[in-house]
Symmetry: D2
Subunit: 292 residues, 4 copies
């Protein structure tokens, strides 16, 4: 397919690379164009503007937050203004439920289609095409972009035809990951202060009913207190918890663990954690306990 | 080996059965003797008293709480008074760190040995010998009882030579399970109120980085809101959270999620949940949100 | 002085009435003009538009939330467009720190002055001129509007020359009130379930170190579970907690009690409390405990 | 009256002194007898044992915790063994509801009477006879000891004839104080990080609906961050929160703010606060926020 790709950060670069590798014709655009060089060397076309990335059948976006997506998609000269009738905007960014609803409507008014396709996985998984993609949108649109989504992920999950559902599921998934980080942080503060080796403790856990990637990956980071470099930075963790809480507030759902996580991220950022991985909230319980 | 087994509840019956099946000579004792009938039919000897269950190389206990273990092990006529010098008490119950330390000392003073060997797994896993056993104690003692532990579980994990470490790990594991239940309860309240099917949501989660038994098992219970019959009853869940908090208090470790879980269990019990499975705390978020 | 007054709700009506009573010339404006009738009968002039309420030395606003204040003050044809150079906008509404900063700047650019003057007190206090007013702004501006502020309140407190400081103090004060409500709710659930009379309990508390209006007023409402009619409605309570949390997030200050209060308000609203007084969060602890 | 007084710490010394000043005949006993010297100089008789302090019409106890009260009252040679039939044990210590119930029963079985009379007030108030006393017990017993209670306090509040009610009210009162400390700590972290002077902030609060001793006293300590010397030490604060939580657990009442307070006290103690006043939990919000 002929597609555009906007947003070449840690995640987007790998995803765009896998679209190229799968044989698609990809025009890339990034606000700081230097990040496009490696992809152009692999055969991507350079887009000089958002509009130039919107000349194909679909355009994928992988951006940091609601603000960036709003600017790229909805501001003058953005995707809504540039995409051909019938073409599809595939939004992979982790954004709010409210913005996803707004994009759905804006593209419908523009005669275009919107598919929300947020992804689970860290930069290594993006580079290796091992992401899990949760995609929601009109059936025909999802069917058309399926080859793209299969090129960037190893799993494609389609919950419904409502794009915002995919975003809510993605946000709730990040909430669950952050909960596991916090819980492991508390548990390791407790067993660590008793003198039990944290790595061995994690091996025991993952030998039992906790044998899942979320425990292996984040448990390892917390056990080793290895929070740099950031695969997913702490401010993004705060952002996602904020979006989960906002979704909960809109539908009147109290989320006490999410509230606790929000406070943890604020403490982490207040104490100098801007550049740490979001899993660094997993050291705060030990810090509170004055455990090593 | 020639062993005794005390405590024939949902878990203990299966465990004692597997010791018999592995060829051990087992004398069983239970406060209400009726529960021993099925095992006697399979070849177990009936013990008329605690002392009669203490005539072998080792005695295993699988009881409900600290109070029951204290009565059976430390009261007059109990295990400490009955076990031969050099014999081993294998404590499988989920008890406090403090009681485990007390048992270690009491048995040492009695010339006996104590191995803490709490288990992960619900009654089905106990019956099928698929438990994970976390065993800690003096190396020689653990080596001697290894055949017993391998008969009741499919995994044997040995963190240290300090019995109480095994109990702390077991308690922290139950804390992690309860956290997953609560977090899934919150997430399902959120996506459920948005109209997303909870079962499908769980399938998506377990297709990604949440592919572990803890999510499958407890996610299924929460998604279906199937809390009866209780595999592990709510009051036992409260007990374990209380013991985790007590361990944290003793070593000055704040555990905010554990505090939240304690409040959840109290609400569940206040609202009539005495006979429900502990996973029923996973419906409280939906109840707060007036979600179905 | 010749002033305008915009926003004639439960609070504003009383405040405008007291400005009249103190001899000021008051032009009133309300989106639904019927609410102005009683004041016009007492001598107020009817403003047909926002602009007509902006012809004097100052204009006071007492509106429900950020959205209403933004519309009235900053939209085309609003206060910023209508107020004479040098005139003063006195903002009495409980709004966000961010909007207060924006108003300060917008009026400065318009050659006008902005004084933030949020008030403590319920409708009865507004009607009786017994409010406490926290006013912040440039000294000359605060001095000029002092007669107005003294007409509506019995106490005038001036923390600084930065308008947003007054809003932050007001929001933090509402946070403290809500905390007292929640804490009394928990305490009364505890003593009430033990059979102690809640009214007598409150009398004991207020005989000791809890002898302050916040305990008398809100303790009485919680003890009697009298939450209608709403002096300050639950959705406004949620709004204020949200604004406190937003201020905390902007400056990286975790506020765990505020997080808990947010969840309480969401539960209250989810369970049908839209029209109850915000003190109704004080019954949720008893509800959780299945106490009467 | 002829009375004994056991427990001459910061609080008890002042209380016993006021009994002497009111003309009562007081035999004092303390485990470390040096603390009795000043009172003996004022006319108290020295008791060489608990029994010697039990020869009068009543004996008052003012001890640190359940353990101390149990030892003094219920162990062999203690108050229960020593007090004459019909005499009254007046328990002023802040103890658990469960122990109060046990004392009530033990004294009844001994033909004695028990009045629970916990007090509100710090050491300065104890010395100045300005305590508030909450007394519960059989009417005749409360009537008989009324002169004693009026000698040590300026207010006497009688909630019921059930001694444990007084203890529950006292514990709930300490819970409310600790809540105010925490809430002020959060509020001051927020306004302090915005540059508002904490002392001025407190003056504004106490000028409005927060004009109560609890805000003046504890607000002052938090605003000044003056936590030494301890009027009421942090470990005692933890103890009281633990007792509140235990009372809540016994009657199935979730107490989320109490849970938060427990975590705060544990963090304070883990971080070296053993000798600080309990109000030092009010600095933890600022510490989390990296505010000064």
């Amino acid at each position: 397919m002929k597609v555009g790709f906007i947003g070449l950060g840690n995640m987007g670069s790998g995803m765009a690379g896998n679209l190229l590798a799968a044989g698609h014709e990809v025009t890339v655009y990034n606000r700081t164009p230097e990040r496009a060089q490696a992809l152009i060397a692999k055969g991507a076309k350079a887009g000089a503007s958002i509009a130039e990335a919107c000349h194909g059948d679909a355009v994928l976006t992988m951006l940091a937050d609601d603000e960036a997506v709003t600017r790229v998609a909805l501001d003058a000269g953005g995707i809504r203004d540039s995409l051909a009738a019938g073409a599809i905007h595939v939004g992979c960014s982790t954004i709010s439920v409210a913005l996803s609803q707004r994009l759905t409507q804006a593209h419908a008014e523009g005669g275009q289609r919107y598919v929300a396709a947020p992804v689970f996985g860290r930069p290594e998984a993006a580079a290796a095409a091992r992401l899990a993609v949760v995609a929601a949108g009109a059936s025909d649109a999802v069917t058309e972009v399926r080859p793209l989504l299969e090129a960037i992920g190893q799993k494609l999950l389609v919950p419904s035809q409502t794009p915002a559902d995919a975003n809510l599921i993605k946000l709730s998934g990040n909430f669950l990951i952050a909960t596991v980080i916090e819980a492991l942080g508390e548990a390791m503060a407790l067993v660590g202060k008793a003198g039990i080796d944290r790595q061995q403790y994690l091996r025991i856990l993952t030998s039992t009913l906790f044998d899942a990637p979320v425990f292996h990956t984040y448990g390892g980071l917390v056990a080793e207190q290895r929070f740099e470099p950031a695969g997913f930075a702490a401010p993004l963790g705060l952002k996602d918890v904020r979006l989960v809480l906002a979704a909960g507030e809109a539908s009147r759902v109290p989320l006490p663990i999410a509230s606790l996580l929000r406070d943890r991220f604020l403490a982490l950022l207040a104490q100098g954690g801007e550049n740490l991985d979001w899993s660094a909230i997993g050291m705060l319980a030990a810090r509170d306990a004055a455990a090593s």
